[in-house]
C-alpha cells in the first residue's frame, strides 16, 4: 500500500490541517491533542496511526511545556499539522526555549533506567513516528507519519 493511500482522499496536495498556539500549561495539551486526533479522524486516518500521532504530539507538547518553557504559562507553544505533497502527515511543535542536546538523552531501555520516572518522551516519539527531526537547537521538533 502506498503512503498516499493510507490517508484517504484528501491527501494529494500540500495543505495545512491545523495551526494552534497554546500556553505552556499541562492542562492545555489535551485540547490540542484532541483537535489533531479529530482532524485525522476526518481524513479517515486509521485508529492505530491516530493513536501513534496523538501520543507523539502529547510527548512533544509535554517536553515543550516542561523543558522549553519551564512550566511558565505566559510562554506560548505552537503546533502545526500539515500534509506534504506525498500525503504524509507532518507535525511541527515549536517552543521559545534554548533547545537541548540530543546526545545527552538517556536510553530508557537500559537496565539502570527502567525504573526512572522521566526520560522516555523523545524515545517514545522516535518509536511512534516514521521520521523525526530536531531543528533550531532542539526547540523545534518536526515529526512525520507516513
Amino acid at each position: 500500500m502506498s503512503p498516499e493511500s493510507d490517508l484517504g482522499r484528501n491527501n494529494t496536495a500540500f495543505s495545512e490541517l491545523l495551526d494552534r498556539s497554546m500556553p505552556a500549561d499541562p492542562e492545555a495539551i489535551g485540547e490540542v491533542v484532541d483537535a489533531i486526533s479529530e482532524t485525522l479522524a476526518r481524513l479517515e486516518v486509521p485508529e492505530q496511526k491516530r493513536f501513534e500521532v496523538a501520543l507523539a504530539v502529547q510527548e512533544a507538547l509535554a517536553n515543550a511545556v516542561v523543558h522549553g518553557c519551564g512550566n511558565d504559562p505566559s510562554k506560548q507553544i505552537r503546533c502545526r499539522v500539515n500534509t506534504d505533497p506525498r500525503g504524509r502527515i507532518v507535525i511541527t511543535v515549536t517552543d521559545p526555549g534554548p533547545g537541548f542536546d540530543l546526545d545527552r538523552l538517556p536510553d530508557p531501555k537500559q537496565r539502570e533506567n527502567l525504573h526512572a520516572d522521566h526520560g522516555r518522551g523523545v524515545y517514545l516519539i522516535r518509536q511512534l513516528m516514521d521520521e523525526v527531526q530536531f531543528e533550531k537547537n532542539g526547540n523545534e521538533i518536526k515529526m512525520w507519519k507516513y
Binding site: P26, E27, I29, G30, F51, A54, L55, Q58, E59, A62, V65, P108, K109, L114, H115, A116, D117, H118, G119, R120, G121, Y123, L124, Q127, L128
Partner: protein, 91 residues
C-alpha cells in the same frame, strides 16, 4: 501529564504513605498512557516492591500495552482481565 497523572500520583502517595503497598490499578477507562504516566507507574512499582508489595494492572487497552512494551517496562507488571483476579493474586 496533567490533572490525570497528578491525581494518580496523589492517590498512590497517600496509599503508600498509609502503608498500603499492594495495589490494583484498573486502566479500563484509560485511553492513553504517556511517558509521565509510565514514569509514575514504574516509580511507585519500585517503591511498593521495596516494601514487600506490588502494583498490578487490570484491563489496560491495546494502546497502553503497546506503549508499555515500547519503552521496555511491560514485563515489570502483572496484568489481569478483572479486578477480582488481580486482588486474589495477592493472597
Amino acid at each position: 501529564m496533567g490533572p490525570a497523572v497528578d491525581g494518580l500520583r496523589q492517590t498512590m502517595e497517600e496509599a503508600l504513605g498509609s502503608g498500603d503497598t499492594r495495589m490494583v490499578l484498573n486502566l479500563a477507562e484509560v485511553s492513553m498512557i504517556d511517558s509521565s504516566g509510565i514514569g509514575l507507574l514504574v516509580r511507585f512499582l519500585a517503591s511498593a516492591k521495596q516494601r514487600g508489595g506490588n502494583i498490578k494492572l487490570v484491563q489496560p487497552n491495546k494502546f497502553a500495552i503497546q506503549t508499555l512494551k515500547l519503552v521496555g517496562v511491560l514485563n515489570l507488571f502483572e496484568i489481569f482481565d478483572n479486578d477480582d483476579a488481580a486482588v486474589e493474586s495477592f493472597v
